[in-house]
Subunit: 451 residues, 2 copies
């Protein structure tokens, strides 16, 4: 019978920051079975790791305060790609997703605003229904439309906006939304023109909500110069707060969305008044690097170390079953990942050890770890899961702590120092041995002479 | 009850070549219901159209003779993203997929070769089992290992290859594969060294198969300079054929894979001896343009035309329910797609008509179509599918015919002419009207004075 009852897997826990050429998983079991797992495992690991890393870069670009909202479903590779994107973006550092299925399946907090089509679907104030609502604290119902129109006049006067430029449909849409969701009023304000219509309409409805003791949430900007617009919107909020004595306007938030990339996030973060960014396309498609090249290679058969040589040295693999140790410096920052053969003892804390850089052949290197942790855990043995699966929240906490522990020189977004991945002396000697044997691999022809 | 019983959809048939700003789908029905469909439809249309277009570009780059094999599952956004990639790459012009599930679900022809781990799993000729096989025409079993070793000596002599560089494990792997699949012998030959080991091993096993009246298929190259290697491999095939009098070596194929892009395909196509290309990463992730920006916008409510203005003119939409017509020139090439209001009659063949370019506001344009076709069909009405769904094979035929019909100036890969998409005069006048109304949208405030 063909099943995974003879398969064991050791794996880096989900959410751990890892570096190039560190083996993330080691799968052992009957040769034919583990060969069949190749593409399935690569498919499950590659995109998840890629989008999680991309999300972590967005988080680093945004800093810790800015909220990040994932909006990528419409640009993902189908519904399942979208769910993977939501799950792993959250682990990488995004706060919320617009994918309600991801909320339901994985517990990722869900957030969203309003579609432009909601705004454009309204033409006239006559479409607003109901027109009345109760104040937050209860009491008599108030004509919310009339109340808001009064505020709109004052807002137009204050801001010097021409009343004839305000779009009746946009006001009707905001009114309808405000009546339905007075605690969650966060419209998109760029459907017609932010300054001439969207912003005055928002302020009018929000002021009416404040008068009824509700707290409006804020606005979303989805086009134009987000940085400049956010500064202007913030200043209008301050002006309204000041002029009308409404403190609640000081806690309104501004959400920005519109093709945001890692770079635009860096730029916006420095100068804008945006509190929360919605990111879709560039997050889920990982525009900057749309694929991750994890591979699955044979390292040992029946105790015999194996490796692939290839015509490209980049594609050459390291032989033998391995353990991976992360070495930390005196400040608790990881500084080197060490690949050892699985029968070697772990590196000892405080003792110097010699190792060999992966990239530069026989350059040796002497290091003394202040702390050592084993990167992989046995997660699957004899066909059974042996460690409970991490929840998304646990993986997210692990990812954020793992990234936090990195030295700034390794996690700066531009030109970071290369993190060192090295081999133990024993692994290095094995590599030399397998290479040497490979160059005399054809001796069998001489042996066969006796045939 | 919330369902799609009131929804109707007209759609461009799957596989039709389309151009930017042509509305692919028109969805009508109860406002709240069709608003809920936005993200689902975009998710299903965007990536499918993107990867299909990308595959079509690879097909144009490869020319019509070269076979294209899709190998992208491991770099796709999860299993479902991989299936979408296989399905739509085939429609776009790929011949086969390595995803056997796509073969089963969609009938895409499946093909593949051999993994490097299969090759590296072998060390010694003692692992080859069974060692004997029957000739293709039947008869006494032959010791296939001894037969092949004899051929290997002759090949090494002919090619001037040192026998001690031939990797015993690689020969053992090829022998095992050849015994198991004598009709389908197509190994990957770059595991150790193409020229020193992989190619001589292949020739030896293939010559032994030929001696037993089988037809070996060919080789796969997965690293190094594919162009140069393929030329050398082809010349070795010719040399063997000539020297050993084995004509079957003239019909061997060479498959190339290894991070192939549209550009590398163009380059290889011109000079290499490769018959079939395997493409994964750059196909499924669409590296060149990793997302397609289809949007879903409201165009009409209760007979009232609607549009979004936005702070970015690129994001402005066209109002009103529309039909789309493709206008063909006297040679049968499409030259213009015309957006009309849905109550307009179709453009008449042979009659000149005035239209307005989408991009350049009020530039008008006079054209006379020699043929006219309606681009969209009613596919869903009152909650029911009204046209049978296309099979993958039908969509593929439509796509290939649709691309074939395009004028070369529109489908050349570099700097193609922009295909013209235009509005009818009636649609243009409606657009002007809605814009004008938008600029006086605030009159309601004056109307409200009476309150």
């Amino acid at each position: 019978m063909l099943d995974c009852s003879g398969v064991s897997i050791s794996s880096v826990p989900e959410g751990t920051a890892v570096f190039a050429r560190v083996p993330l998983l080691e799968v052992s079991g009957p040769l034919a079975v583990v060969q069949l797992l190749e593409t399935s495992l690569l498919c499950l690991v590659n995109y998840a790791s890629l989008v999680c890393s991309n999300a972590a870069r967005f988080r680093l670009a945004a800093g810790s305060k800015l909220k990040l909202m994932e909006l990528g479903l419409r640009r993902a590779q189908g519904p399942d790609g979208g769910l993977s994107a939501s799950r792993y973006s959250h682990i990488g550092g995004f706060d919320t997703t617009s994918n309600v299925m991801a909320g339901r399946l994985f517990g990722v907090p869900v957030s969203g605003t309003m579609a432009h089509s909601y705004v454009t679907s309204f033409s006239s104030l006559e479409e607003v229904w109901p027109r009345v609502m109760m104040p937050s604290g209860g009491g008599e119902k108030v004509d919310f439309v009339t109340l808001t129109i009064g505020w709109l006049r004052r807002v137009c006067d204050l801001l010097g906006v021409k009343a004839e430029n305000v779009h009746e449909g946009e006001l009707a849409a905001f009114l309808s939304f405000g009546v339905a969701y007075p605690q969650n009023f966060l419209p998109v304000i760029d459907t017609y023109s932010v300054k001439r219509s969207g912003l005055p309409c928002f302020c009018a409805v929000a002021l009416a909500l404040c008068e009824l003791d509700y707290q409006p949430v804020g606005v979303r900007l989805d086009s134009g110069d987000l940085c400049q617009l956010s500064v202007e919107v913030r200043s209008v909020f301050a002006e309204c707060s000041n002029h009308f004595g409404v403190e609640k306007f000081l806690s309104l938030i501004i959400i920005g969305s519109n093709g945001l990339s890692e770079q635009s996030l860096c730029d916006l973060n420095a100068k804008s008044e945006i509190d929360m960014m919605g990111v879709g396309t560039h997050l889920v498609t990982c525009t900057h690097q749309p694929s991750l090249g994890c591979v699955y290679k044979l390292v040992e058969v029946s105790g015999q170390p194996k490796m692939k040589f290839s015509e490209d040295s980049e594609k050459t693999t390291l032989p033998g079953s391995k353990n991976v140790y992360r070495l930390l410096d005196s400040e608790g920052h990881p500084f080197l990942d060490l690949l050892c053969l699985s029968d070697e003892p772990p590196p000892a804390v405080g003792q110097s050890l010699q190792c060999y850089l992966l990239k530069h052949g026989n350059t040796s290197y002497c290091v003394t770890p202040h702390q050592v942790s084993s990167l992989r855990q046995n997660v699957f043995s004899s066909g059974q899961i042996t460690l409970p699966l991490s929840s998304v929240a646990e993986s997210r906490a692990r990812a954020q702590n793992s990234i936090l522990s990195l030295h700034p020189r390794h996690k700066c977004l531009k030109q970071p120092d290369t993190y060192v991945v090295a081999m133990s002396e024993k692994l290095y000697l094995l590599l030399c041995d397998v290479k040497a044997k490979n160059s005399t691999a054809g001796n069998f022809l001489c042996k066969q002479e006796g045939l």
